[in-house]
């Protein structure tokens, strides 16, 4: 019969168990409950990858299950004062930045803790995601995740799905935002459609060259490369509207209904 380890070691073993469960694994494998894993794959985006018809290739990734909330963003600006309203440089966030908060480090009645944070610039959103060891999702990642509903990974061909998504866009923008935590889609990701507009990492890359067909010879030179990007899935108005809105933004802009979530590689 094997000798039992001394009592102090058995005790230490018990104490170590919970530590080993997380600390013993590589950090990348440690589950972050705020994120869901998405398998990725070939995806028919409204923006063909080659500007003509090629599908997008989406690598497996993690996506935050909900948009970042006011409470979470408050914790961020408290820990990183350079991102507080009134301190941030004008080139990184415009005058509307967090202007619905009652103070630089206080939410107030117009910004409830569980509402998605809005009035944040792309630079601020990016800086926040870095603190979660993450980045902003690419457009393809976002669009791919948002194509799913509760039972299907791609619900876009369903007229009822389109109708539901479109309905949100008709909602007046001055009504108070609901809290995060809507219905989960098939990946466990929530609020992609129907809560806020969301920043993506490549917001300034979506429509490069789209107008070059209509321009005269001299102006064609403004764009280098394969030329115009054509939009696909033209019946998917809601997604096309998102592309148009994101493309119209500058990185320092903030709006009433524009928030964000973060993504990480798998």
């Amino acid at each position: 019969m094997a000798r039992r380890p001394p009592r102090w070691l058995r005790l230490a073993g018990w104490l170590c168990l919970p530590l080993m469960a997380t600390g013993g694994m590589p950090v990348a494998l440690a589950a972050d409950e705020r994120y869901a894993a998405l398998p990725g794959g070939e995806f028919a985006s409204v923006l063909p990858a080659d500007g003509k018809a090629a599908p997008a290739q989406v690598a497996p990734f993690h996506l935050r299950t909900t948009p970042v909330t006011n409470a979470e963003f408050l914790a961020f600006v408290t820990a990183h004062p350079q991102w507080q309203r009134g301190r941030v440089a004008g080139v990184l966030a415009d005058a509307g930045y967090l202007s619905h908060w009652v103070g630089p480090t206080a939410l107030g009645a117009a910004a409830l803790p569980q509402q998605p944070v809005t009035r944040v610039s792309w630079f601020a959103a990016q800086a926040y995601c870095e603190t979660e060891g993450a980045r902003l999702p690419t457009w393809y990642e976002w669009e791919y995740a948002a194509a799913a509903d509760a039972t299907r990974s791609d619900a876009r061909a369903d007229p009822a799905w389109r109708e539901r998504v479109l309905r949100w866009y008709g909602r007046p923008s001055n009504t108070a935002l609901p809290a995060v935590g809507g219905e989960a889609n098939v990946y466990g990701v929530r609020d992609l459609n129907g809560l806020v507009w969301e920043w993506v990492d490549d917001f300034n890359a979506l429509l490069v060259g789209v107008d070059s067909r209509d321009q005269d010879g001299a102006d064609k030179l403004r764009f280098c490369g394969a030329g115009a990007i054509s939009m696909q899935e033209k019946e998917n108005y809601a997604t096309l509207m998102r592309v148009a809105m994101l493309s119209a933004l500058k990185a320092a802009n903030t709006t009433n209904n524009l928030g964000f979530r973060c993504a990480k590689p798998l």
Binding site: G90, F223, C224, A251
Partner: protein, 196 residues
């Protein structure tokens, strides 16, 4: 006595001004964004280190065969509208869209092929994240295609000595008179090199 005190205070202020660092960076300066640039010689420098002189900034990539050579040509044309001493009073910075392929060697080769005067020109790359940030800050759009090429807008951007965007043009292949005039104004505002 009062006069003496005032003079003393004024003197103190002068001394303090001399000792303290230069004035705070304006909020609308692109140097507010921390970006580390690695140049054609592999030297790494913060973009904000370029503060103090006007900069003509553009973005490009070395394997681009269509518009990018014309961007370089347009910058050179614009530069040559100035007389020789005035050409010394600003710097030219071209940052790559393609940090993966445009390493130090690729940038150096490009500078050699295009016979760029490296006293005036800096070709640089940075991280993919900083590339996207810098483009966003400068209002330049780009998108990588599946074949590795890029679609991108082509712009020349003029920064004043504090890094504020004072002029921009998307006219490529010929001179933009408004942009040339803005460059002449910036350079005129600069003291000649070598003088305190």
């Amino acid at each position: 006595m009062k006069k003496l005190l005032l003079a003393g205070a004024a003197l103190l202020l002068l001394v303090m001004a001399g000792v303290s660092a230069r004035p705070a960076l304006p909020g609308d300066s692109v140097y507010q964004l921390p970006v580390e640039l690695s140049n054609q010689d592999g030297q790494v420098q913060s973009m904000a280190a370029r503060r103090g002189r006007p900069q003509l900034v553009t973005m490009f990539y070395t394997s681009c065969t269509m518009v990018c050579p014309m961007i370089v040509e347009t910058v050179e044309k614009t530069r040559r509208t100035l007389d020789a001493p005035a050409q010394q009073r600003f710097d030219i910075l071209a940052v790559s869209f393609d940090p993966q392929r445009d390493d130090t060697a690729a940038l150096r080769k490009y500078a050699a092929t295009r016979k760029l005067d490296l006293q005036r020109w800096t070709l640089a790359h940075t991280t993919p994240t900083a590339t996207r940030q810098l483009a966003a800050l400068l209002g330049i759009q780009y998108r990588q295609l599946p074949d590795g090429e890029f679609n991108h807008s082509s712009e020349l951007i003029l920064l004043d000595a504090d890094g504020r965007i004072v002029a921009r043009t998307d006219v490529i292949g010929r001179l933009d008179p408004a942009f040339v005039a803005a460059l002449h104004r910036q350079v005129a505002a600069e003291p000649p090199p070598g003088k305190p």
